[in-house]
């Protein structure tokens, strides 16, 4: 349980980190290390170069700008969970962060780290997709913004180029009359989800569903938007019949994996159950 040997590099700026990424193939950014170190100890990942960005100043922050919340890449899950801005303006992200692993992991793990690791059963990626969040990527040739729907490409694979780092994570300030819920089905509290659902529901002044964003975790190679469920909600009064009927569509377009905690078939059924529960919970949280 000791990693294979590697070179340890410690840049002092993000630009320098990008240069190192560009210079060395088989290099990997070390942020919170909560997934990477475990993989290295199991020798499932053996990067030749570790680029430790944890000492770069100014990469941990949460601030509101216009209708967006800007989050520094090294912001820990614990900070995300407890940030008053996120709690008030985008509570679902705080809720998702609170469900990650345990307190020790939340003290170390970072928001950009979990997004870049792109585990389809992790808590933040699923929520980030429902939020239509954005990642600001920084490379040798400058910066670009990647939308959540384009960011996750496959199991543990993102749209980042090998020589790009995440400079910032952005999520929207949620509009009024919005309710959100992130729930997951897991054997133990801190486990990766068997199925996870992030639901964001906004009603109009007549309490008709104005927008619905439902994202499912652990049912495919990336977090997936349950588009058919969303379509079945928008424009309707969300009676329980509507919610139940919409949730029945949650297994459309998913390709769940099978493991010892849940077969593909079971996950498909749980996707429906937890979609229904997440929508109900989100709806119940919409204030006056």
């Amino acid at each position: 349980m000791i990693p294979r040997s590697f070179e340890y590099l410690r840049p002092s700026t993000l630009q320098e980190a990008v240069q190192l990424l560009d210079k060395y193939e088989e290099s990997k950014i070390l942020a919170g290390g909560q997934s990477l170190i475990a993989l290295m100890k199991l020798r499932l990942a053996s990067p030749k170069y570790i680029i430790d960005i944890t000492r770069i100043p100014g990469l941990s922050y949460v601030k509101e700008e216009g209708n967006k919340i800007l989050i520094g890449p090294l912001t820990t899950h614990d900070t995300v969970e407890n940030s008053p801005i996120i709690r008030n303006k985008c509570p679902i992200l705080s809720e998702a962060a609170s469900r990650i692993g345990d307190q020790q992991i939340r003290n170390r793990g970072t928001i950009a780290g979990t997004l870049c690791h792109a585990d389809p059963s992790a808590d933040v990626p699923t929520t980030f997709l429902a939020l239509d969040g954005e990642v600001v990527a920084m490379g040798k040739d400058g910066e670009r913004v990647i939308k959540a729907k384009d960011f996750f490409q496959d199991f543990f694979t993102t749209a980042l180029n090998p020589n790009e780092v995440v400079k910032e994570v952005r999520v929207p300030v949620l509009p009024p009359k919005t309710g959100t819920a992130y729930i997951k089905h897991a054997r133990r509290e801190g486990d990766f989800a068997i199925v996870a659902v992030a639901a964001i529901i906004t009603l109009d002044e007549n309490n008709v569903c104005k927008s619905a964003s439902i994202s499912l975790g652990s049912v495919g190679p990336t977090p997936l938007r349950a588009v058919e469920v969303e379509n079945a909600l928008v424009g309707k009064k969300l009676t329980d019949e509507v919610i139940v009927a919409a949730s029945e569509l949650a297994d459309r377009g998913i390709s769940p994996p099978s493991d010892i905690h849940g077969s593909a078939e079971y996950r498909a059924e749980m996707a429906k159950v937890f979609t229904k529960r997440a929508i109900r919970l989100a709806l119940s949280r919409i204030g006056g």
Binding site: M1, I2, R4, S5, L42, R43, D102, H185, R187, R188, E189, G190, D191, F192, I194, D259, I260, H261, G262, S263, Y266, E269, M270, V273
Partner: protein
């Protein structure tokens, strides 16, 4: 048989026995000052890593270590060739043909489970040793694995051990009472197929060894955390080409065992060979994946059960065919397949029992004597059977249990297999546990909850925790096995300055023996526990030991304390003799109090240090014929008899603690997830020496049982033979968030067979396996779901619900 033990020579006033003092061990263990094997550093020491088989079943065609040897820092590599030079195969306790089974501390010619050691490397750093393992080339010829006990019995099944010629390594039929008559007289016969799953102990500290071979003296010192090393000495002694007097075993603090640490003798030998080959001391710390993959699993068992019953729920008799999947090697087996004999009718009073017992090898990891060893499987089977009897007769399972329990007035009760249940009141304990969860209230509310679609159920079970085993029971496996009884050795002395020191060397790994020994000794000498020093750890050159020594089988409060009491009385007698001479009084007129020996009813006293000074430094003033010094050894022997090999009966255990558990669970019908709403335990372990420590054991075994029932399972791939629950991400050790508050209450039924009325406590027999299965079945009773597996994860329950709903439509 009990009279001899009930010695009344020195009445022991009970000031400290029964008092919940804080454990002496806690401050050092909790503040990180414990000393474990990994804390041992010897100059020039190397670090080892093991290369393990990626296959469940394969021939080893070739092992090439040349690249690994060239890696800078690598000092020695051990493979099968070296092991064959140093070792004979381990002796087996089974009758022919399985006695031919070849087992070594490393895979020889063939690998038989995924994770079996194939090579061991010693290097100057652990990281280098791990790198070197990757450079060892092993050419395997994969063979089809056999991953199921029933499959293994088929004529065309792959053989795990060709030298045996069959995968059935032990078969025996035990027939008690008149089973045929019971079935002829039955109103109804209930049949069930049940499966008890594989889970384990998962101790905080994994296996660990430091081996140090001293060429000059030829002495091999093994520092390890084996919980029963001197029993293992027989295996080591018979397998190693090395005189046992030159083998010294030391155990420091041990971080949990749960029975898994009995099997580490294979590692003790493998690392010793590495140290001898390297000519330097070697340390090996097992990592968690290795620990999960090998030697920490409990016996997996399949049961075909039939119960003959009367309409009123009276059980007349039970027939059971059991198939124990013991994994790739026997190691401690087939004892686990036999140990039901300690609790043959469980807490019940039926007299007719036929057990058709089969131990079967497969390509899974070898099993270990895990907490509740061999009894849990059987007790869980009985509990499931009795509950199904009730349900199929339309009776309340709890009423049926109470009806069939052994009555308190029948104690001591001789079970069908000849085991004597010493004391207890099972019906009262169960009723008490039910009261603690407000049973009547839940039963009243239950129909309304069902109408609301809430599946809430109540379960209750009582398991015995049989303690202090009679080793003679293994003669029922093979009559030639040369062991029997049980014993413990204790040494005690008063030093020249009047201090009392005790050495029991019991290899505790969380049981707080230092505390309970000092409580017992304090009462004998009229001092406080702080005045008694119990030597921590074990050293085979320092501590007296027998082949039964160690910490296992819920027994220290009986056997260990038996030895301590024997030694204490011996020492007290000698002190009294000398003090009587000094005080010019009769020994029987003396009393021990506050560090002094006094003539009763007077103020004529001598202090311990004065007596001790006379005994050692001033010995010309000793009375005629009294040997100087105040140091005694006592070997306690359990009052057992040899088994009746004809009837196959044996008094297999001396004491029977028991726990009654009651719980309320709610099953989520949409997901199959079980939530525990309330949990209560009533524990009776006779006279508790330290109720605080007993409570810890009760909590621990309850948590262990909840974990087994709902979270922990060693799942294997049936096709590839790979262990799928190979890390703590998939082997779901529960956290505090998964375990409910546990209400605990106690009853005290002193054992008539032990001096202080104590019984062993520790295993607790994982009663939640019974109570939770019963509660789930009760919750889902409107659907008629039958729980047949001891492990019930959400998807399994979900499928049962869906199946039942489909049938109802």
């Amino acid at each position: 048989m009990t009279e001899a033990l009930l010695s009344k020579e020195i009445p022991v006033p009970r000031k400290w026995v029964g008092t919940p003092i804080k454990a002496k061990e806690f401050p050092r263990l909790i503040t990180g000052q414990g000393r474990y094997v990994d804390d041992i550093k010897i100059p020039n020491m190397l670090y080892a890593a093991l290369l393990r088989s990626p296959y469940a079943h394969a021939k080893i065609k070739r092992i090439d270590t040349s690249k690994a040897e060239k890696l800078p820092g690598v000092v020695a590599i051990v493979t099968q060739e070296d092991v064959l030079k140093y070792c004979k195969p381990y002796p087996q306790i089974v009758p022919p043909p399985a006695d031919k089974l070849l087992d070594y501390c490393i895979a020889v010619d063939k690998v038989r489970f995924a994770g079996e050691p194939v090579a061991a490397v010693a290097a100057t750093e652990r990281a280098i040793a791990e790198d070197a393992c990757e450079l060892i080339e092993v050419e395997y010829e994969p063979l089809p694995p056999v991953m199921d006990a029933e499959e293994a019995l088929k004529p065309d099944a792959p053989l795990v051990h060709e030298e045996v010629g069959t995968n059935l390594v032990w078969h025996e039929v035990f027939d008690y009472g008149d089973v045929d008559k019971a079935f002829a007289e039955a109103d109804k016969v209930i049949s069930l197929k049940l499966h008890h799953h594989r889970y384990g102990g998962a101790p905080t500290e994994t296996h660990a060894v430091v081996a140090d071979y001293d060429k000059g003296t030829g002495v091999l010192t093994i520092y390890c955390n084996n919980q029963m090393p001197m029993f293992c000495m027989a295996l080591i002694g018979l397998s190693f080409n090395m005189p046992t007097d030159k083998i010294r075993i030391i155990t420091p603090d041990i971080g949990g065992g749960f029975g898994s640490k009995i099997l580490s003798y294979t590692y003790m030998m493998l690392i010793s060979i590495l140290a001898m080959k390297a000519g330097r001391p070697v340390k090996w710390m097992e990592d968690r994946r290795e620990n999960l993959a090998s030697g920490t699993h409990c016996n997996e068992a399949t049961f075909y059960v039939e119960a003959a019953v009367k309409k009123d729920g009276t059980i007349l008799g039970i027939k059971a065919k059991t198939l124990h999947d013991v994994g790739a090697y026997l190691r401690y087996e087939p004892v686990g397949a036999l140990l039901w004999i300690q609790v043959s009718s469980g807490p019940y009073r039926f007299k007719n029992l036929r057990m058709d017992v089969n131990a079967i090898v497969t390509n899974k990891g070898p099993v270990a004597p895990i907490r509740g060893y061999g009894r849990i499987q059987h007790l869980w089977m009985l509990e499931r059977t009795v509950e199904q009897v009730a349900r199929q007769l339309g009776l309340d399972p709890i009423e049926v249990k109470l009806k069939n329990y052994v009555r308190p007035e029948e104690m001591p009760y001789v079970s069908p297999s000849g085991a004597t249940y010493d004391s207890g009141d099972y019906p009262t304990a169960l009723k008490k546990a039910l009261q603690m969860i407000n049973y009547d209230e839940w039963r009243r509310k239950q129909p309304e909850l069902w109408r609301q679609g809430r599946f809430v159920g109540i379960g209750a079970a009582l398991f015995q925790d049989s303690g202090t085993n009679n080793f003679a029971q293994v003669r029922l496996i093979y009559k030639n096995n040369p062991f029997s009884g049980n014993s413990r050795m204790a040494e005690m002395w008063m030093d020249e300055f009047g201090r009392i020191i005790v050495a029991v060397g019991s290899n505790p790994h969380g049981q707080c023996h230092e505390t309970v020994v000092s409580q017992v000794v304090a009462d004998v000498f009229g001092v406080t526990p702080d005045d008694v020093f119990v030597v921590p750890g074990f050293d085979s050159w320092v501590h007296g030991w027998t082949g039964h020594s160690g910490s296992y089988a819920s027994q220290f409060a009986v056997s260990g304390i038996g030895a301590v009491l024997g030694a204490a009385k011996r020492l007290r007698e000698k002190i009294a003799t000398i003090a009587a001479h000094m005080l010019k009084a009769k020994p029987e007129d003396l009393e021990f109090k506050e560090g002094k020996v006094c003539v009763k009813g007077t103020d004529r006293c001598v202090a311990f240090w004065q007596v001790a000074n006379l005994a050692y430094r001033n010995n010309l003033e000793l009375p005629e014929g009294v040997e100087p010094g105040l140091r005694v050894i006592y070997t306690w022997k359990a009052p057992f008899k040899l088994p009746d090999l004809e009837k196959k009966t044996v008094n297999a255990t001396l004491t029977y603690s028991y726990q009654a558990h009651a719980c309320v669970v709610e099953v989520d019908p949409e997901t199959g997830k079980v939530k525990i709403l309330d949990y209560a335990v009533v524990d009776d372990c006779g006279v508790p020496i330290n109720p605080h420590i007993v409570e810890g054991q009760v909590h621990g075994s309850t948590m262990n049982g909840i974990a087994a029932a709902l979270f922990e399972e060693y799942v294997y791939s049936k096709d590839t033979g790979q262990l799928l629950a190979s890390t703590f991400m998939d082997y779901l050790f529960p956290t505090a968030l998964e375990i409910p508050d546990i209400k605990v209450d106690h009853m005290i039924s002193p054992s008539p067979f032990t001096e202080l009325g104590t019984k062993g406590v520790g295993e607790g027999s994982l009663v939640p396996l019974g109570s939770i299965a019963g509660a789930i079945e009760d919750a889902l009773s409107p659907l008629g779901v039958v729980i047949t597996d001891s492990h019930n994860p959400p998807e399994r329950i979900y499928r049962m619900i869906k199946e039942a709903q489909k049938k109802r439509k």
